[in-house]
Symmetry: C2
Subunit: 333 residues, 2 copies
DNA sequence: CTGAAAGCGCTAACAG
DNA sequence: CTGTTAGCGCTTTCAG
């Protein structure tokens, strides 16, 4: 059996109450007694049972974090940001990996609730999870996902702006024929926003009739899309790729077709593939400050649970940034 | 306030005890009462407080997982394997991110212990963390790290074999002048083992005097090492790079120097950089089955905590595998 | 088959 | 300044 507060009390010849106060730095204990108790507690290697404390205080030191894929570094970078903030408040993270599965997500949310956690940070599968949390009246913050019509605290990156920035960069370089290769996914509207940003940038240049959007589910379809485009009579001079996994396929096929980047074709990738800076040429990207998204979300949740923020839901919109590398240049000719 | 077992008991007009038994599927409740209780519990949206349960049963449903860097996908892939196994037993993961900092690791280990967790899976910073856990008599399994002389349950990949496989592959292709570019780190002996595998392979071919090992702390030093090597009179025809981040620097510099892969130089990377398959040429790698390492570790921990395994510590050694892509071929000439 | 009561380890309220 | 007592929500005796 582990050492309990009572064991310490007996050894120190005081009441458990006094031990509790001494160890928690509360008033009502003489310095002498406090020191003695702290010394004895250390000697006995006493470690408070935080489950018991949580029970008594009716709130636990856990925060739930549910993500779509724990194996994806996009999420773990955000978790890193979360972790840094929560660490300062001695809060622990309970991880849930939904694998983009509604039932699995629900399972983890239930578990988190069962631990009486302070709140939940979630990158949700679809709105059902959020509705559940709302119904359970637990504070939560949505991470880097568009909640559509569902109002709640959230921190996200302006996806529209990502598409806009990428397209604008190519337009500024003089490109007029720019294609957007989109990542299509069932629930996610974030990618649609990127397309909207693309369209908006074209519109501003009066090029709305030059818009060409292709949608791909994965890298494989990215390859096929490139083949398809290069079978046509004329080819674009610029491509914006909406997401990294699709980009992998696109780049592979472009390389196979021996299309020269950036002399024949300029390429911008939305996202932060780890290989963007390693490839030759390095790829121009639109990157999100992932750790910042995580830390902002954690702070927002803490402020909410601590009552520092009350009332209306808050949306923090974090900016993405254009990182120019070698895959973009002026159009040929 | 959340719905408690007592609320359900009152509504169902039975004792809390009966509710507990009914909901936990224990005997001593008539089917009729059980059904009624289950129905009422659902209606009331009752959810057991697992903290209270844990207190009473004196064991919690948590498992601690401490890793060196949560932002690194190597670890999160292992976590994914862990998660899949623990999910089946309805256990929750408490994450600790040590950031390779002994104090931070210790902090998280203490927290995990405070939750009365079943056990801990850890990729440790150095042996002090392990000694602490041993002293606390908590079951733990070490993840993908060489514990050196410290005996304990562990699951790891044979690092020696990784170095051996990489070198052997080049030797089989006919290379004789093979350089090893090593990742050097303060605590980690895993990379040293990879060097040993390299040396062993050379020895088997009577090439021990051809061994050249360079050590780098990071990508930057990887670049410099390449410059250094290519200033010499003769250059190797094959390179084994011990780790992915060093590899990034090495590859960048090789590209800058316009060294043709694989015609002039063959390259094998130990590890699983995400870009290995995307680059042209794709890089031949020695890869670890990371999810498997995680799931094996989780199973081992469960077996240990459940008493299915008793006595001596177990080391599972998982095999790595050679993935041949385009960066390796016969030596020039 | 069911209920009453004890108690897990801790903190908060109240008393001295 | 310190101690006594109650109780967080649950499961586990022990009685009926």
């Amino acid at each position: 059996m582990r050492v309990t507060i009572e064991d310490v009390a007996i050894k120190a010849k005081v009441s458990v109450n006094t031990v509790s106060r001494a160890l928690n730095g509360k008033d009502g204990v003489s310095e002498k007694t406090r020191e003695k108790i702290i010394r004895i507690a250390q000697e006995m290697n006493y470690r408070p049972n935080i489950l018991a404390r949580s029970m008594r205080q009716n709130r636990s030191d856990f925060v739930g974090v549910s993500v779509l894929d724990i194996g994806n570094s996009v999420f773990t970078k955000m978790i890193k940001g979360i972790e840094k903030v929560l660490m300062d408040d001695s809060l622990s993270i309970i991880i849930g990996n939904s694998d983009e599965d509604v039932d699995k997500e629900r399972h983890y949310l239930e578990t988190m609730l069962s631990t009486n956690c302070r709140g939940i940070i979630i990158s949700h599968v679809n709105s059902s999870g959020l509705k559940f949390l709302r119904h359970e009246r637990i504070p939560f913050v949505v991470l880097d996902r568009d909640t559509q019509k569902f109002e709640c605290d959230q921190v996200y990156v302006d996806n529209n702006k990502m598409g806009y920035l990428a397209t604008k960069h190519l337009l500024d370089l003089g490109h007029r024929d720019i294609v957007f290769i989109n990542k299509e996914s069932e629930f996610d509207t974030d990618h649609r926003r990127r397309v909207e940003g693309y369209l908006q940038a074209l519109n501003e240049h009066g090029l709305q009739n030059m818009a060409h959007v292709y949608s791909c589910l994965d890298a494989e379809q990215g390859k096929k899309t490139v083949q398809e485009i290069w079978k046509k009579e004329t080819q674009p001079t610029g491509i914006v790729i909406g997401q990294h996994s699709v980009a992998e396929g696109v780049i592979m096929m472009l390389t196979q077709l021996r299309i020269k980047i950036p002399t024949e074709l300029s390429v911008v990738i939305i996202g932060e593939p780890s290989w963007a800076s390693i490839l030759t040429p390095g790829f121009t990207t639109i990157e999100r400050p992932l750790e910042l998204v995580g830390s902002k979300a954690a702070k927002l949740l803490l402020d909410r649970t601590q009552g520092k923020i009350k009332g209306d839901y808050i949306s923090y919109v974090v900016s993405s940034s254009l990182v120019v590398r070698e895959s973009t240049g002026p159009p040929p000719g």
